[in-house]
């Protein structure tokens, strides 16, 4: 379960169909602005660069450079002067299971795993069947789910997002934002320090967004502002007026957390720890893949108290949720198709057809799949 501990919700800013809800930190989380010493002690793999002013953990955008030593990811915001531009940013090597690639298609941007969370989702039961039941194809047994591809939209493709981000007024002390498109929660983004946020705010445009949000942006009309409303009858003095104004803030924060962000905050997540740096833990999480819930994947850095120092989420689209759900189901039943079908309460061939519809048909043996198709037609 996620929390927004340590962060205060401030009133949303709306532009067209996009609503941005700023999150304020009273005190920045200082420890995560990794100092050179910390690199040496906590993460030995980091090259220490004396010119590095500060750093926080950022997954993408600036990240992922190919070099002779393999894949590496930058340690986030690194303010670099003109002279330092020639050098590679300080970075740490990360263990990716697959190489990364990215290719633009017509009107769409297709991503193979671009960052941690997505890679976490893509590598979900990536190994394929663990037990060689007869129903799985030889290809699936040998190579697993490879190649596993998911599609997403680049932020620049989301209509109205660019303008909304441009005119958004960053609050003093702002350390995060919740981004809604057509009032569907698209992404949560939290960083440890306001300076990081200022530097990284434009990167929201370079992020990827699920299909759902792309359609929301195209179809949604302007979302309404939640305008303040004060009841005349309660005001007898200026102090009353001030109290009423303060109440507006409280009510908005309560409404937001309980209604608007509930899908993110109250979901169930499977958390996998990826990296540990001093008191902080970098983990990625997968959602419950429940059909009736919002499903966000993401990565999070928590401090000792479990407060999020860094958070970034991606909302899965329907088809992605379905794939996730089926894979989890199969894995939970040791990849026995009959057992999984029984748990789902459907005949075996129906599950087979679902696998195919979800784009996982190649896992099944060809002749079996044909048989399932024939039965489904009957």
């Amino acid at each position: 379960m996620l929390t927004l501990d340590g962060l205060t919700v401030r009133p949303a800013q709306v532009w067209g169909g996009v609503r941005l809800v700023p999150l304020i930190r009273d005190e920045p989380i200082e420890g995560l602005r990794l100092e050179p010493e910390l690199y040496e002690e906590a993460c030995g793999v980091v090259q220490v660069d004396e010119r590095t002013c500060y750093a926080s953990y950022i997954p993408h955008g600036f990240v992922a450079r190919w070099s002779a030593e393999g894949v590496s990811a930058a340690y986030g915001t690194q303010l670099r002067g003109r002279t330092e531009r020639r050098y590679l940013p300080a970075r740490m090597a990360m263990r990716f299971h697959r190489r990364m690639a990215r290719r633009a298609d017509t009107g769409r941007l297709r991503f193979l795993p671009l960052h941690l969370a997505m890679e976490g989702y893509l590598s979900l039961h990536f190994g394929g069947p663990e037990i060689a039941w007869e129903e799985w194809s030889r290809e699936a047994l040998r190579k697993g789910l490879s190649p596993r591809v998911e599609e997403a939209y680049h932020g620049a493709e989301i209509r109205g997002l660019e303008d909304a981000l441009r005119i958004f007024e960053i609050h003093h002390g702002q350390c995060g934002v919740l981004l809604y498109i057509g009032d569907a929660l698209a992404a949560a983004f939290i960083v440890p320090h306001p300076a990081d946020y200022r530097a990284l705010h434009p990167t929201l445009l370079q992020d990827m967004y699920g299909e759902l949000l792309y359609h929301h942006a195209v179809l949604a009309t302007a979302v309404p502002d939640f305008r303040a409303a004060i009841d005349d009858a309660r005001v007898r003095s200026l102090a009353d007026l001030r109290a009423e104004a303060a109440r507006q803030h409280r009510e908005w924060a309560a409404f937001h957390d309980s209604a608007m962000a509930a899908g993110l905050l109250e979901g169930e997540y499977t958390v996998e720890e990826v990296y540990r740096m001093g008191p902080f833990r970098l983990s990625r999480f997968l959602p419950s893949f429940r059909r009736d819930a919002e499903n966000h994947i993401g990565e999070i850095i928590t401090d000792q108290a479990g407060r999020p120092a860094y958070l970034k989420t991606f909302r899965l689209s329907r088809a992605q949720v379905r794939r996730g759900r089926l894979l989890t189901l199969l894995a939970a039943h040791d990849w026995r198709l009959s057992a999984a079908a029984e748990a789902l309460g459907v005949p075996e061939h129906a599950l087979g057809m679902r696998l195919e519809a979800a784009g996982l048909g190649a896992l099944l043996r060809r002749d079996l799949l044909e048989r399932f198709r024939a039965r489904a037609r009957r």
Binding site: P11, I167, E169, A228, L241, E244, A245
Partner: protein
């Protein structure tokens, strides 16, 4: 008896004046140039068709140069719609306004008339009178050569003396007797001659002769106009050309505020005394005999991120707020500024953060001022609408007699709403482009609060028109 139509007319006119004061058809923070222009064009046409006499009278108000030229243009192309009497008054208003406009804008209007093929008798007469009343046409011939040429062609006029040759076949003469014309001729091959030309023209020749920038600036310095000098301040500082140093105290207030905001904060802190002194001096000069007469004033000044303006109008809203701050300091007996960011040091203002107008207005009302001025683009967003609610409740419950006069000045035209963005119906909103006009705007805003009807508004306009036409002294334009 006021009819509904009268109220609508008064409202429409105020809306138009607000637009004509603020919008320049350039990009703003929230809308781009095309949106601004389309919106403005519609508004001009709407007002011209429905209230032609009021539309013409707007020339007598403090509308900005862009809109003054647009009004003149619209009146000239639609002369057929006007009665002879209207036409006569319009002609006088246009002629008077053209006197006040910077020449390049007038020439651009002439060029637009030429390209649109508008060449009626009145247009030609206006062009003729304007050109004839230029004291130094030779100077214009050098500085606006192409534009002047088109104007002469279009108005079917014969340029006086050697000007005709200069404009149309300058190589024909061996030399010109007018010094500036001859300097221009010689500047084509002689380096020394370019220093007798106006700065903008000389700049081109300097590039042609490959004169180093530093040398050029040192020599051209006496020919700089006041605003050119202001624009070149930082270049001159970098190149260490001391001569160009401007006397900042003589600059118009809002321009000066814009210049101050263009400096990095560290420089502003270093030159604090000089800059503050200049701003105060400009404010005192603007305030004139009204200085210290406004009683207890509190100002809510917007330095949120949206006050950074746009690439076209860089930091303009913030510059207006800063200029208003200094002007109010001069006007008020007792003055408290409240910046939205909570900043105390106005000189170091920078556009950053959200717009919690509601809370800031509450703080201001707590100080129980006689006058509360709000300078903001009206995008109240933390939370949205709180400022409107606070002002509404304040007016209805806590201050029904209007002991405290609240005026909202808005430097940004909202293209979508065809008006400057209002905070609340309970509070009058006026557009503002230069802080120098603030006293006049506060007066005009009175009509917006519904206290003055159309009759009163018309009377006010008539007074302004009479004063405008009778006035002989050229106003300070910037």
């Amino acid at each position: 008896m006021e009819t509904a139509a009268d109220l609508v007319a008064a409202e429409d006119l105020l809306l138009f004046v607000n637009a004509a004061i603020t919008s320049t058809g350039q990009r703003e923070f929230h809308s781009d140039a095309a949106e601004q222009q389309a919106s403005l064009e519609f508004l001009h046409e709407y007002v011209r068709v429905n209230y032609r006499d009021l539309y013409a009278a707007a020339l007598a108000l403090d509308v900005n140069d862009h809109n003054a030229a647009l009004i003149a243009w619209n009146l000239l192309i639609s002369a057929g719609e006007a009665t002879p009497e209207q036409r006569r008054l319009e002609g006088r208003l246009i002629a008077r306004r053209l006197e006040l406009l910077p020449p390049q804008r007038v020439y651009r209007l002439f060029r637009r008339l030429r390209r649109a093929g508008v060449n009626n008798r009145r247009t030609r007469a206006i062009m003729r009178d304007w050109l004839n009343s230029r004291p130094d046409l030779a100077f214009h011939a050098v500085k606006y050569r192409g534009l002047l040429k088109e104007a002469f062609r279009h108005a079917h006029l014969k340029p006086p003396g050697e000007l005709g040759d200069f404009l149309f076949q300058w190589r024909r003469r061996r030399r010109y007797t007018t010094p500036v014309l001859d300097a221009w001729r010689r500047a084509h091959y002689e380096r020394e001659a370019i220093y007798r030309l106006p700065y903008t023209v000389a700049e081109g020749f300097a590039a042609h002769h490959r004169i180093p920038r530093k040398v050029f600036l040192e020599r051209i310095e006496p020919n700089l106009t006041r605003l050119e000098r202001l624009r070149l301040q930082e270049t001159a500082r970098e190149l260490k050309v001391d001569g160009v140093r401007a006397d900042l105290t003589r600059m118009p207030l809002t321009r000066l505020a814009g210049y101050v905001l263009s400096l990095p904060p560290s420089t502003r802190a270093e030159r604090r005394e000089e800059l503050t002194g200049a701003l105060r001096a400009a404010a005192r000069r603007t305030a004139g005999d009204q200085a210290g007469r406004w009683g207890r004033v509190v100002a809510v000044l917007d330095d949120s991120y949206s006050s950074s303006g746009s690439g076209h109008k860089r930091r303009r809203p913030l510059a207006v707020a800063l200029a208003c701050h200094f002007l109010l300091e001069a006007l008020a007996g007792e003055y408290t500024p409240l910046w939205l960011s909570g900043r105390r040091d106005a000189l170091l203002a920078r556009p950053y953060g959200a717009t919690p107008l509601g809370e800031c207005i509450l703080d201001a009302l707590e100080l129980a001022p006689e006058r509360l001025l709000i300078v903001s683009d009206g995008w109240d967003n933390a939370p949205p609408g709180l400022a409107a609610e606070v002002l509404r409740v304040w007016r209805s419950r806590l201050d029904p007699d209007g002991r405290c006069e609240v005026v909202h000045l808005n430097p940004v035209y909202d293209a979508e709403g065809y008006d400057v963005r209002r905070l609340s119906p309970a509070v009058p909103t006026a557009g503002v482009r230069n802080a120098e006009n603030m006293p006049a705007l506060v007066e005009l805003a009175r009509f917006a609060s519904g206290r003055g009807g159309l009759a009163e508004l018309r009377a006010h306009l008539d007074r302004r028109v009479a004063a405008f036409l009778g006035e002989t002294r050229l106003g300070e334009t910037c």
